[in-house]
C-alpha cells in the first residue's frame, strides 16, 4: 500500500491538534512553549511533505530548515523571559502573573 500525501497531512494535522491541546491545557509556562514547538513542527512536516509530493523543487525543505532555526531563536528569547518572570514572581504558572489585571 503506497503512502500518499494525505497520510502525511493527516499526521501533521493530528500533531498540530496535540500541540494546540498542550498549549491550552497547561498552566506551566514552559509546557506551553513546548506545545507551540510541537505546532511549529507540524507545520514543518507539511512543508516537507508538500515539497516532496507537489513540487519537484525543494523550496519546502528550505522553508522547513528556516523554521527550525527560527523556532530555536524564539525558544531562546522565550526562555529568557520566563527566567526574568521567575525572578520577579517566584513561580512559573501562567495564571499567577496577573498583576496587570486591575
Amino acid at each position: 500500500m503506497n503512502v500518499g500525501l494525505p497520510h502525511f497531512l493527516t499526521v501533521s494535522a493530528v500533531l498540530f491538534a496535540l500541540g494546540l491541546f498542550a498549549v491550552m491545557s497547561r498552566r506551566n509556562t514552559v509546557a506551553i512553549l513546548m506545545g507551540v514547538e510541537l505546532m511549529l513542527n507540524a507545520a514543518n512536516l507539511n512543508f516537507v511533505a508538500f515539497s516532496r509530493y507537489v513540487q519537484r523543487g525543494i523550496d519546502g525543505q528550505l522553508m522547513a530548515a528556516f523554521v527550525i532555526v527560527l523556532a530555536a531563536a524564539e525558544a531562546a528569547v522565550a526562555l529568557a523571559i520566563v527566567l526574568a518572570l521567575y525572578r520577579n514572581y517566584g513561580t512559573v504558572h501562567a495564571d499567577t502573573a496577573q498583576s496587570l489585571k486591575r
Binding site: 512553549l33 507551540v36 505546532m39 514543518n44 507539511n46 508538500f50 528556516f66 523571559i81 496587570l100 486591575r102
Partner: protein
C-alpha cells in the same frame, strides 16, 4: 538601505546613543529618497518588491522610530533605567517591518515578521526588575508565537496549493483556476488567524490591554503605531493576493469581525480608568475601522471580476483611505503616548486618569497636545482623525456597504465620550496634590510637532490623500 540600518548600530557609546539612532534613521530615509519613486523594482531574486506601497510604509515606520527614539531618549535622561540595547533593538524592529512591507515571498514575510516580533517582545519585556513589563513581554511573546504557528500552518498549505513560495506563483495558481478551492480557503483562514493576532482583531485581542499597559509608554507608542501598521500592510497585500478565494469563504466572517472589533474596542474603553489601558482598547477600536477598509477591498461588489472596472476605482478609494487612516492613526497615537511618556517620572508611569486633573494649569503645552490628540482620535472635524474617518466611510459607502458605514459612524460617536472624558479631567477639574506636574520638555515639544501635523493634515488633507490614491493605483504584488 536595510544593511545600512543594521551596520551602523554596532557602536555602543551610551550617552549619544539616541543621537546615533536618529542619524541612522535619517540616513535610511535619504537612501530611500535617492532610490526614487514610481518605479517598482524586484530585488534579490523575487524575495522583495519595492513599490511605492512599501515606500509609504517605510517612511511611516522610520517616522515612528524617530519619534520613539526622541521619547525614549528623553525618558532615559530623566532617570528612567538606562538600557543601551534599546536602540539597536528598535532599529532591528524597523528593519523587520521594512522587509515585511515589501515582501513578495512567503519566506521573507515570515522572516520579516519574526525579526520585528522578536525585537518588540524584548522591548516590551525589557525593563529589568519591573514586574509588569516582564509580564507584558511574556504575554506578548506567548500570543505572538502562538499566532506564528497558525500563520506557518497556513503558509504550508498555501505552498502546497501553489507549489511555490513566491507571491507570483501563488497568484498564478489562484488564477489558474478550480484546483483545490478548499485547500486555498483553508490556508487563507489559518493565515488570517495569524495576522489577526498581530493586528489585534477581536477574537485575538486579549493580549493588547495587558501588554500596552505593562510596557513603558514609549514602547507602547511604538507598538500601537508602527507594529500595527506593519500588520495591516501585510494583511492588505495578502487580502489583495487571495482575493477571489477570500471573497466567498471568509468575507462574511471578516465583516462580522470588523464590526465586533469596533464595538468591543469602544465599549470596553468606556470603562477604563488607566489611560494606557483606555488607549489600548481605543487602538482595538481603530483596528476595527481599518478592518472596515480591508473588508471593502475584497467586498463582492468589488471582488468579482464582473464589475472589475467599477471595482478598481472603489478599491482604490478604499485602499487610499486605508493608507491615509494609518498615517493619521500613527500621528495621533504617537502624540498621545509621547505626552504620557513625558509625564511619567522614572519608573512610575503617568497612568491613572484622575491624576491628570488640572493638568492644563500646571503644564499647558502638554495638556494642549494631549487634548489635540484625543480630539483627533475621536474624529472631531478640524483634526486629521476626522478626515481619515471621512475618507474611509465614504469609500465604504461607495462600495455599497452602507450599513457598515452607519455602524462605523455610531461607533465613532460612542468613542467621543471616553476621549472627551480625558479633556474634561484635564481642563475642568482643579489640580490635586498627587497630580503629574513636571514634564520633559524635549518629549513634549516633539509631541507638539506631531499635534501641529495633526492639525495641518486635518485642514489640508488633499495632497497626502491624492498621493495615497496614486500609490494604490499601481499596487502590484
Amino acid at each position: 538601505l536595510v544593511m545600512l540600518v543594521d551596520a551602523l548600530f554596532r557602536t555602543k557609546r551610551k550617552d549619544h546613543l539616541s543621537l546615533l539612532t536618529l542619524i541612522v534613521l535619517l540616513l535610511s530615509v535619504l537612501a530611500q529618497l535617492r532610490s526614487g519613486f514610481g518605479d517598482e523594482r524586484v530585488l534579490l531574486s523575487g524575495m522583495l518588491t519595492v513599490t511605492d506601497f512599501s515606500r509609504f510604509f517605510d517612511f511611516l515606520f522610520v517616522g515612528c522610530a524617530v519619534l520613539t527614539t526622541v521619547f525614549a531618549g528623553s525618558a532615559f535622561d530623566r532617570g528612567g533605567r538606562q538600557r543601551p540595547e534599546f536602540f539597536p533593538l528598535l532599529l532591528f524592529a524597523v528593519l523587520g517591518m521594512m522587509v515585511l512591507a515589501s515582501a513578495s515571498d512567503l519566506l521573507s514575510v515570515f522572516l520579516g515578521l519574526e525579526t520585528m516580533s522578536l525585537a518588540v517582545y524584548v522591548l516590551a519585556g525589557g525593563v529589568r526588575g519591573d514586574v509588569r513589563s516582564s509580564e507584558a513581554g511574556f504575554k506578548y511573546l506567548l500570543m505572538g508565537s502562538f499566532a506564528s504557528a497558525f500563520l506557518l500552518m497556513g503558509m504550508a498549505l498555501l505552498y502546497g496549493f501553489a507549489g511555490g513560495t513566491a507571491f507570483s506563483d501563488i497568484g498564478r495558481a489562484l488564477a489558474a483556476g478550480p484546483g483545490e478551492r478548499g485547500l486555498a480557503a483553508l490556508a487563507g483562514g489559518l493565515i488570517l488567524v495569524g495576522f489577526g493576532f498581530k493586528v489585534a482583531m477581536v477574537p485575538f485581542h486579549m493580549w493588547t490591554p495587558d501588554v500596552y499597559d505593562g510596557a513603558p509608554a514609549y514602547v507602547t507608542g511604538f507598538m500601537a503605531t508602527a507594529v500595527k501598521a506593519a500588520g495591516f500592510a501585510i494583511l492588505t497585500r495578502f487580502v489583495l493576493l487571495m482575493q477571489p478565494h477570500l471573497a466567498f469563504t471568509w468575507y462574511p466572517l471578516l465583516v462580522g469581525l470588523a464590526v465586533v472589533t469596533m464595538s468591543v474596542g469602544n465599549l470596553v474603553a468606556l470603562a477604563q480608568n488607566g489611560i494606557k489601558r483606555m488607549l489600548a482598547w481605543s487602538s482595538i477600536a481603530h483596528a476595527g475601522y481599518l478592518l472596515l477598509g480591508v473588508v471593502t477591498l475584497i467586498s463582492p461588489a468589488h471582488g468579482n471580476s464582473g464589475q472589475m472596472m467599477l471595482g478598481r476605482e472603489v478599491g482604490e478609494a478604499a485602499g487610499s483611505a486605508l493608507l491615509f487612516y494609518l498615517l493619521g492613526y500613527s500621528l495621533m497615537n504617537l502624540a498621545a503616548f509621547g505626552v504620557i511618556g513625558a509625564l511619567s517620572k522614572g519608573g512610575r508611569e503617568a497612568d491613572e486618569i484622575e491624576r491628570y486633573a488640572g493638568l492644563s494649569r500646571r503644564k499647558p503645552l502638554a495638556a494642549a497636545v494631549l487634548a489635540i490628540a484625543m480630539l483627533s482620535l475621536a474624529g472631531i472635524p478640524p483634526m486629521v482623525g476626522f478626515m481619515s474617518k471621512f475618507y474611509l466611510f465614504s469609500a465604504v459607502v461607495r462600495a455599497g456597504l452602507v450599513p457598515l458605514a452607519i455602524i462605523g459612524v455610531i461607533n465613532s460617536l460612542l468613542s467621543v465620550y471616553y476621549y472627551l472624558r480625558i479633556l474634561v479631567v484635564m481642563y475642568m477639574k482643579k489640580p490635586e496634590e498627587g497630580g503629574y506636574d513636571d514634564a520633559d520638555t524635549v518629549a513634549v515639544s516633539a509631541a507638539a510637532v506631531l499635534a501641529g501635523l495633526i492639525l495641518l493634515l486635518g485642514v489640508m488633507p488633499e495632497g497626502v490623500h491624492r498621493a495615497a490614491q496614486e500609490i494604490f493605483r499601481q499596487i502590484t504584488f
